[in-house]
């Protein structure tokens, strides 16, 4: 008897304990589709004879469609150039039935200083009850490819939005990433994901109960920021400019005899090769200027450019111009530019009052990572 009482007390406290945990973790309640039956009994005496009757009534608990999305951190500290940065979110089914969800990742365009584009983002999810953080090689993390994910009531999944941080992201810049989970329940043309709070979707719940949308538009989202708190200059934009002489040609005439030489003597036409390497990050409005040395004369319209995005440029083989005309030679892959400030090809010259070209400028504009090159010719003054 004593033992019975003890076990009764023990089981009571266990029930209290588990109810406590349950109500604290999530507020879901009785499973959708559960039958709640009620049987009333009336007993009475009539004509001295006791009798009784019963009456039962039953209904099934309808389904609440509800979802909660939280971000593990409001802000995540990153360094420019970081690879595979993962922002963790938790998607919890706070309804009372198993539910299919679609995940949407997005960037807040009003808060995107890194910047990132939607193509930079990859979504992974982990259904493990004990997520251990993002690891691209872990078997726990699955690439989300748009297939709806089933989450049991009270259940949750961990979702990671993964991105590489641009090399050129400046210190203290931020980008805000949103994860949205949308219920995929629909019946009779009514979609939970397009329904306002309180919408009843007949027969769409567990066991053909009604489903009630308890999250506006059947969805919830959470946002989290990436903030560049450490700047690594070695990963940011670097523009390397390397100017070399590709070759030179001079014509020596004496008593009707012409000799071509590559010696750099007065009258030699020198071809300069300027290689521009854009590294780590794209460059914006990049402009290259070159001062023509004193004692040299720029040959008009000799600027030629190779500016195909992302190219690798090898030093071209020198082609000697024909002298004395010294018309700029056409090199394959190079486009000839005109000196006129027409803004069409970006090439301009700057002259002094005497009309001598003192410098040339090639406006290359916005450049992706890669190599670019400029050729120009100048004559050594006599």
């Amino acid at each position: 008897m004593k033992k019975n009482k003890f076990s009764s007390v023990l089981s009571t406290s266990l029930i209290v304990g588990s109810a406590f945990i349950g109500s604290n973790a999530f507020a879901v309640g009785t499973d959708a589709g559960t039958a709640i039956s009620n049987t009333a009994t009336v007993s009475f005496t009539r004509g001295g004879t006791p009798d009784s009757e019963q009456a039962s009534v039953s209904f099934n608990v309808d389904e609440i469609i509800n979802v909660n999305v939280t971000a593990a951190n409001a802000s995540n500290n990153i360094t420019n150039g970081d690879d595979n940065v993962a922002i963790a979110y938790t998607v919890t089914n706070t309804g009372n039935g198993t539910e299919l969800f679609k995940l949407l990742d997005s960037i807040n365009s009003a808060n995107n200083g890194l910047p990132l584009s939607s193509g930079d983002l990859t979504v992974y999810f982990d259904t493990s009850p004990t997520p251990d953080g993002f690891d691209p090689n872990s078997i726990n993390e699955q690439l989300y490819t748009g297939t709806d994910i089933s989450i049991a009531n009270d259940g949750f999944i961990t979702v990671y939005i993964v991105t590489d941080v641009p090399n050129g992201a400046a210190l203290n810049t931020k980008s805000e990433l949103l994860l949205t989970a949308v219920s995929q329940t629909e019946a009779g043309g009514i979609k939970a994901g397009e329904s306002s709070f309180g919408t009843v979707i007949p027969t769409a719940g567990e066991g053909t109960t009604n489903a009630i949308v308890a999250a506006e538009q059947g969805r919830n989202n959470a946002s989290s920021e990436l903030t560049v708190t450490t700047f690594d200059p070695s990963k940011s934009l670097v523009v390397n400019i390397n100017k070399t002489i590709l070759g030179s040609t001079a014509l020596i005439s004496n008593a009707g005899t012409n000799v071509i030489t590559d010696q750099k003597i007065p009258g030699s036409v020198v071809t300069y090769f300027i290689k521009v390497a854009v590294e780590n990050d794209g460059a914006t409005a990049l402009s290259i200027s070159d001062i023509i040395p004193t004692d040299m004369t720029y040959i008009a319209n000799s600027m030629r450019v190779q500016d195909a995005a992302g190219s690798t440029i090898n030093i071209p083989t020198y082609i000697a111009p024909t002298l004395p005309a010294a018309t700029p030679v056409t090199y394959s892959n190079f486009d000839a530019l005109t000196d006129a400030a027409d803004a069409l090809d970006g090439a301009t010259t700057s002259s002094n009052a005497a009309g001598r070209v003192q410098s040339i400028t090639v406006d290359l504009g916005d450049l992706a990572i890669g190599e670019y090159a400029i050729l120009l010719d100048a004559t050594i003054n006599n």
Binding site: G29, N38, R46, A55, S56
Partner: protein, 156 residues
């Protein structure tokens, strides 16, 4: 007996046990709070539409004496359905004594006299501990008369 078992498993929202002369009807409603024009609030018993966790469900139990002689010692007993909690002060019935049980109907008493064991201590039971509600009609039910009682539960 067979008839009773069948009805106990009926899933309809309303069932009726057709006895020779005394019948019992058990009907379920969704209980919602409505706001009147003057801002006051009141409960409204309506056809079930959204029966969700946290919502209130009302049961209306009607006993009807269709016989020719009075029925006496009428007692209506109703276990609180599984997955629900009794809502305090919701049991009503004209000319009835209402009592509750916290031991599945072994004993009944007024709420103030109900105690449970909680973590080894004997404590006053709350309405959520009630397992059954019972109405004793204070007067016989004359032939042709009926009496209705009601109570509300909250779905867990």
């Amino acid at each position: 007996m067979i008839k009773k078992i069948t009805l106990a498993f009926s899933l309809s929202l309303m069932s009726l046990v057709a006895s020779a002369e005394v019948t019992l009807t058990n009907t379920v409603f969704e209980v919602v709070t409505i706001t009147n024009e003057d801002g006051s609030k009141q409960d409204k018993w309506q056809q079930p539409d959204k029966l969700l966790p946290g919502e209130r469900v009302g049961y209306q139990i009607e006993v009807n004496n269709k016989g020719t002689e009075p029925a006496v010692d009428i007692v209506i007993a109703n276990p609180i359905p599984e997955h629900t909690l009794y809502v305090q002060d919701s049991a009503k019935g004209i000319n009835t004594s209402i009592e509750f049980s916290v031991d599945n109907g072994k004993t009944f008493a007024q709420p103030a006299q109900l105690f449970i064991d909680k973590e080894g201590k004997r404590v006053q039971a709350t309405s959520e501990d009630f397992t059954q509600v019972r109405w004793k009609l204070n007067t016989p039910l004359a032939a042709g008369d009926s009496s209705t009682v009601q109570y509300i539960v909250k779905i867990k």
